[in-house]
């Protein structure tokens, strides 16, 4: 019995020592954040609405907190960069006002009464602040210089002509601060700049259905401006590392890919064709489609979502249903309806199903316009790449990334994200701008390129920790028939961003 006791004691001791001995140590070959000897004490973002953290057609703090420059700055700090506070022009929620209504411009899901037609748009939220919260107190330029609506020309512009509607609030020239994005960067002398501009040199053309402006920025102008920007930046900020982004193909964003297939499915049921105005047409529409030729099909803008439900309306009901689009245009312009109905259009004909009451040009990108936008994107990108190479700037190929996501989606921590409107998870409710998780994907691509180009070890953003789209799941439904009804008046301000 004695030996039995001893044995038992021994067993217990071995057990305990085994348990104690297995307190685990962290694995040795984990990613260790660090800058690899690179000094980054100041990082600044030059960009447009994408950099600003503009989401769902508005600029508001709870989205700006997850702008891709902010996410990058957070990861840089984790790697040891002494950036201090990364200053952004936070606009307290619910964000900036729509100039026409005075109410918050951002979109929310307003109504889910009909789950097949969620109504999305501004909800009439009262604006709580007239300007970014520290616009008057911060005595230096913001680190995030994202200017919603700014084209490439906005970089050097000191007059506010190309700075978009938010220029005065963000650049703050009137407050005595440097008068342009360029001068702001020059004043703060960062070691790292992300430069992602040029999207608006083609996006406005595309989102307005090829109507406003009626063409993308000419390539010669674009190349001149891009070269001037990088060259000047390089000379004025010695030793700066510049990372430039390519322009994603605008036709893969949900703004263009959401409504067409829904309309096509509805038309297929009755075997009807849709009649629409082609590029340049204002009256009778010469385009017709059954959406059975993927190469030649027009794309319907998300702005057309509010009118998709009126297709076929009009017969015997002058200006009531078939003329809904023109009544909205008239109301927006403060003009009589008769003044805005173009010659040749008869709103008593079934809307969208008759050449004399065609689907309006502003709500559709026909095949020639798609080709024009696509060519502009590829030309711009070729220009960006060659100019970057000539100046030792690093290229982040967002176009390649978004093209791949549009084709294959992207899986992160068990979630497959796609380019689909709402359900895809990467785009906000305006169908153009990334969601917070979409911004995380952008930030991670920048960080990936940064690490491979500069031999830094900056850790990526943990995407699944970022806020998901605020979808009231209680009643929301994503069926095949879902045609989101985005309130038409809400687009006025959104489109206005591109029209300076």
């Amino acid at each position: 019995m004695n030996s039995a006791k001893n044995l038992l004691t021994l067993m217990v001791l071995i057990s305990l020592s085994a348990m104690i001995g297995c307190t685990d140590e962290a694995p040795s070959d984990l990613p260790a954040p660090g800058l690899g000897g690179v000094t980054i004490n100041k990082y600044m973002a030059v960009g447009n609405s994408l950099a600003a953290g503009y989401q769902s057609s508005g600029l508001y703090k709870s989205a700006q907190l997850y702008s891709y420059p902010k996410l990058i700055s957070d990861q840089l700090k984790l790697a040891g960069a002494k950036l201090g506070t990364f200053e952004q022009p936070y606009w307290p929620d619910p964000g900036n006002p729509d100039p026409k209504t005075g109410k918050a411009a951002r979109y929310v899901i307003i109504s889910l009464a009909d789950p097949n037609n969620p109504v999305i748009g501004p909800k009439g939220e009262s604006v709580t602040a007239a300007a970014p919260e520290n616009a008057l107190t911060l005595p230096r330029p913001y680190d995030n210089l994202g200017l919603p609506g700014a084209p490439l020309a906005g970089f050097m512009d000191t007059l506010g002509t190309y700075q978009g509607g938010f220029g005065p609030a963000i650049i703050r020239a009137a407050g005595g601060l440097p008068k342009s994005q360029f001068l702001s960067v020059k004043a703060l002398q960062p070691q790292l700049v992300t430069f992602w501009l040029g999207n608006n040199d083609v996006l406005g053309y595309a989102t307005s259905g090829g109507t406003s402006p009626s063409a993308p920025t000419p390539l010669a102008t674009f190349s001149f401006l891009f070269n001037q920007a990088i060259d000047t930046l390089k000379k004025s900020v010695p030793n700066v590392k510049i990372m430039v982004g390519t322009i994603p193909n605008v036709t893969t964003i949900p703004f263009f890919t959401t409504i067409g297939p829904k309309v096509a499915a509805s038309l297929a049921v009755v075997g009807a064709s849709m009649y629409y105005q082609k590029a340049g047409e204002t009256g009778v529409g010469s385009g017709s489609t059954k959406f059975n030729n993927p190469a030649g099909d027009p794309m319907i803008c998300l702005t057309g979502s509010a009118y998709a439900g009126y297709i076929g309306a009009g017969a015997g009901m002058p200006n009531v249903q078939g003329g809904k689009f023109y009544r909205d245009v008239a109301a927006s312009a403060g003009a009589p309806v008769s003044a805005v109905i173009p010659a040749g259009v008869d709103t008593t004909k079934p809307f969208g199903l008759h050449p004399q009451n065609p689907w309006p040009n502003a709500l559709v990108l026909d095949s020639s316009e798609i080709a024009k936008a696509t060519k502009a994107v590829s030309d711009f990108n070729a220009s960006i790449k060659s100019i970057a190479a000539a100046h030792g700037a690093v290229v982040v190929d967002f176009n390649a990334m978004f093209t791949d996501i549009a084709a294959n989606g992207i899986t992160i921590s068990g979630v497959k994200y796609t380019s689909a409107y709402i359900t895809g998870g990467l785009f906000s409710l305006d169908g153009v701008h990334p969601s917070s998780r979409g911004a995380g994907v952008i930030a991670n691509e920048v960080i990936r390129v940064m690490n491979s180009s500069f031999k830094t070890n900056v850790t990526g953003v943990d995407i699944s920790k970022l806020p998901a789209l605020p979808i009231p799941l209680g009643k929301y439904m994503a069926g095949d028939n879902m045609i989101p009804n985005v309130a038409p008046q809400s687009w006025g301000h959104f489109l206005g961003l591109w029209q300076n």
Partner: protein, 400 residues
């Protein structure tokens, strides 16, 4: 008798409390403390009621009625560092849980050379739980899989050196799991149950007094499980409703050789095959909206090497063992649902004969999982897993 009734009462209490708990580790091979203490190398001897699990032929050599019942207390621990594909290195710790699979065997010789028995145990079970808000919550938050096998068995002693045994497996299975789903943030909770049938069989041959060879096989068991899926918040996008899945519990086979080195020392080496390739995918059908969620698993057939021995000193037996368990999951399919890796197990234990009819066995197993670094995973969730487990087994035996 007083001690006996107390022992049985304790065992019944353990058993009852265990029924409400869960089994851990998708496949469990700890079904008797005597076998467990010897690295599970038991198929060539199978001297006790756990023969019903390890090799039913073992019953053929057991001449008296017996009860053998016990439990294994399993305390796994795991950490995940990552996701490294996003450059993350944060440590995520699995929530601590304790699992107590049970085993209960009764055997009765019914005529010359024929012994029948029944076993109840939990050969497959799994439980992992991660913090609700952790970074992998879209892959898994919590899963529990539990199976009960009821195995009526008969063994026939063909001659003094040959026995054969067969059994039927009636299995019940239950799986519950919860995780987040995208878009937005909704949580799905699944609760599925079902039953299935299988069989088992084995042979033990003793070519010499000192040498024993055993072979056994247990078929796979297919469980068609049905139940419910609940979403929080519930929605038209994710409607609550009926759900179904098929769980195929893999086949397994033992080949063992035991040798009596001295009168009081026996050693055994076993090779166990596990047919994990039956686990191709986890497909859950949601009947309400007629959709399925398919997670590819593509497990591979694998094996376990077992070495063990038993040294007898009067009423006391000292046992020791080692096992190597090759994990069935390729790097590409490794995920926190069941963060497996190759395991080395170190076993010790004692047996004590209280009197002519009663005995008690205790065992301890420390399972060290090889640190596992995975990249390029199916779910895009790369990182380093560190796991280990402490297992304590206890069994009471009564012969009459």
């Amino acid at each position: 008798m007083n001690i006996l009734s107390k022992s049985i009462a304790v065992c019944m209490l353990l058993l009852i409390s265990s029924l409400s708990l869960h089994a851990g580790g998708f496949q469990l091979n700890e079904h008797g403390a005597r076998a467990m203490a010897q690295g599970g190398a038991w198929a060539a001897r199978a001297y006790d009621g756990s023969a019903i699990f390890f090799n039913p032929a073992g019953l053929g050599f057991q001449k008296i009625r017996s009860l053998y019942l016990g439990t294994t207390i399993i305390m796994p621990a795991a950490s995940f560092y990552g996701p490294t594909n996003l450059g993350q290195n944060a440590k995520n710790e699995m929530v601590s849980q304790v699992f107590t699979p049970i085993n209960l065997y009764a055997t009765v010789p019914v005529m010359e050379n024929l012994v029948v028995g029944i076993g109840i145990n939990n050969p497959y079970g799994l439980g992992t739980e991660w913090p609700e808000d952790w970074t992998g919550r879209y892959i898994t938050q919590k899963i529990d899989l539990m199976s009960f096998f009821f195995t009526p068995t008969a063994a026939y002693k063909v001659s003094d050196n040959l026995s054969i045994g067969v059994g039927l497996n009636y299995a019940t299975g239950n799986v519950t799991l919860s995780r987040m789903v995208s878009p937005g943030d909704a949580q799905v909770k699944l609760d599925l149950s079902g039953t299935g049938m299988g069989f088992t069989g084995g042979v033990i041959f003793k070519p010499t007094e000192a040498l024993s060879v055993g072979v056994s096989y247990r078929s796979s068991v297919k469980i068609d499980a049905e139940g419910t899926a609940e979403f929080t918040p519930s929605s038209a996008l994710f409607p609550a409703g009926d759900a179904a899945a098929t769980l195929e519990l893999p086949a397994t086979a033992f080949v063992g050789v035991a040798y009596k080195v001295m009168d009081n020392l026996e050693v055994e080496a076993d090779y166990q095959f596990v047919g994990w390739s039956s686990y191709k995918e986890l497909k859950i059908d949601f009947k309400k909206n007629n959709t399925s969620s398919v997670s590819p698993k593509n497990y591979e057939d694998t094996y376990i090497l077992r070495l063990g021995g038993e040294y007898t000193m009067e009423a006391m037996q000292i046992r020791f063992g080692y096992l190597f368990d090759r994990n069935p999951v390729a790097d590409h399919y490794t995920e926190p649902l069941l963060p497996d890796s190759d395991r080395n197990g170190f076993n010790i234990g004692v047996g004590y004969k209280i009197n002519e009819t009663m005995s008690v066995d205790a065992s301890y197993l420390f399972l060290k999982f090889a640190e596992r670094k995975v990249t390029g995973t199916e779910v895009e969730f790369d990182g380093v897993y560190q796991s280990n487990a402490n297992l304590f087994g206890i069994n009471f035996g009564y012969t009459f």
